[in-house]
């Protein structure tokens, strides 16, 4: 079995809506986690600096790096911090329609 590696994504909140957004390869922001750019240790700080420009441009609030473990066998991407896991997947409330971050407001 191959060893897991570490990657990161950049997460922020959209200024206008407050929704969780992810920094993309095209240096834009998306509400879809699948569009988040996966970053290696080498590129993470440089991309965070680029993302922070959008904070100064009043597009997003508090862009931060979220570390994840990536399975070498399945490429499964798992955020390391439970806070970030919930931030990405939405409330974990049992049997409730509150639980989706993508639900229409």
């Amino acid at each position: 079995m191959n060893e897991a590696s570490t990657q990161a994504i950049i997460i922020a909140n959209d200024l206008r809506t407050g929704r969780v957004v992810y920094f993309t390869k095209e240096s834009g922001w998306s509400e879809a986690i699948d569009e988040a750019q996966r970053l290696t240790d080498e590129s993470a700080n440089e991309r965070l600096a680029a993302a922070t420009i959008d904070e100064r441009n009043n597009l997003v609030i508090d862009p931060t790096l979220a570390q994840a473990t990536v399975s070498a066998d399945t490429d499964r991407f798992t955020l390391e911090n439970i806070r970030e896991q919930i931030r990405v997947s939405g409330p974990t409330i049992l049997g409730s329609d509150h639980a989706s971050t993508s639900q229409a407001a």
């Binding site: 909140n13 390391e80 049992l94």
Partner: protein
Amino acid sequence: MYRYDELDQSLVEQRSAEFRSQVERRLAGKISEAEFKPLRLMNGLYLQLHAYMLRVAIPYGVLSSKQMTKLADIADKYDRGYGHFTTRQNIQYNWPKLIETPDILDDLASVQMHAIQTSGNCIRNVTTDPFAGVAADEEVDPRPLCELLRQWSTLHPEFAYLPRKFKFAVTGSAVDRAAIKVHDIGLRVKSGPNDTVLTDIWVGGGQGRTPKIAQLFKANLPVEDLLPYLEAIMRVYNRYGRRDNKYKARIKILLAETGLEALQQQVEAEYQSIDQTAFSYIESEYARIAGNLIKPEYHTATEAPTRTNAEFEAWRRQNVKPHKQSGYAIAVVSLKPAGGIPGDATSIQMRAIADIAERYSSSELRVTHRQNLILPHVLESDLFSVWELLVKVDLAEANIDLPSDIIACPGLDYCALATARSIPIAQSVSKKIRATELTTDLKGVSVNISGCINACAHHHVANIGVLGLNKSGVENYQLTLGGRNDQNASIGQRIGPGVAADDVPEAIERIVNFYVDVREIHESLPDTFDRVGKEPFREAVYG
């Protein structure tokens, strides 16, 4: 309930317009997030994990049917069709957008509501006994004082930037249903000679990482002298409260570090320096406010209640409380269905209860600090009809003051400060414990679940407290026992190492079963805990 006037209306409209301008400047990039954050917080707007969160003030927990209907409309129009009632008798929306918040504040202002001072280092929404004005055991109605405090503290220029947030609670009964001893200032209003009203001032209670029970600071102060005295306390706190460390900034720490007697002397000196004539209006204003409380027209029951069934009787036994007016009752509406989200109500439920209140409770509702709702003026002969309507919208759970009547904060599912989840734990616990409480007398056993050390769910003063922490990246839950939040308030004791999330319901069931096994007749859980000690309970949980 209190009848707001043109001044109140003007104030909320001006504040809404001001915030609209602030939002416009923020969106246009004219002010930074660092500059905007304190402004939005002063209007109750937080940024949480998934979205903004708007906390709306419900002064001393009193709502009209019209206001509740507006809250439902806002939930549908700007949010996801529900709201969350809190331990400060407020309501929170979890998904508003910044760009729509000014419109929300306009909608709130149309029914004299707002979000002023629901956040920030200021005097927060004053809370009180949810049975204020109607409780059979009440000595003095605390609502006139609450309204006086609301007017005094709203936009008070001296107290907009205190060392830390500041919370008042008021009770007018010997039985404390407002948890006054775990507030920065707790006030006990009582009758004095010759129809006078006196107040006992309790100072320095609080929860969070340093829980403290308040100390009696001043006894039997005539209500006319209360505001200058409170002003003196606030000035001393504002001057000497620590600003170097937010965890040591509450007045409870100032009291602990200064000592009761020394702090009393400082306050007395400040009080003597205050121009008392500036407060000469209080006596007449207190009387004016008391006169401006809209009093329901109580009627004599026209017919004896005849309809009943077993489910209704269970609800009446558990959720209906004695009213001071003969023939009337207080109906407590549980927002804690087994397996549900404590304190949440959908817009459908909000509209339904607004309609019920309009028809059966003089258009008045209350929010309790235990995150339930109240119909404060129900004719006993109408109780069955009320219950039938509550059943239709899943609001008839008969579990008030039982363990499944859980207080839970939003926890890590919503809150940016939380270290662990609270709501799913509460859901699992209530599901498990509900079966036991249906067959065993567990009245009065309280379970409170906080998702971090800030203790928003008041776990320190629960009979069974649960505190969620993050231990090496994994949620872990500490259990405390023996806390009380009534007139005999006490802080619970931690009974052992934390347990995993999945193990919390089982641990609580073991605690409850052990209590049932060893309690004496009519003995409460904290009294049993005090009598038998920590070890037997610890053994019951951990084996």
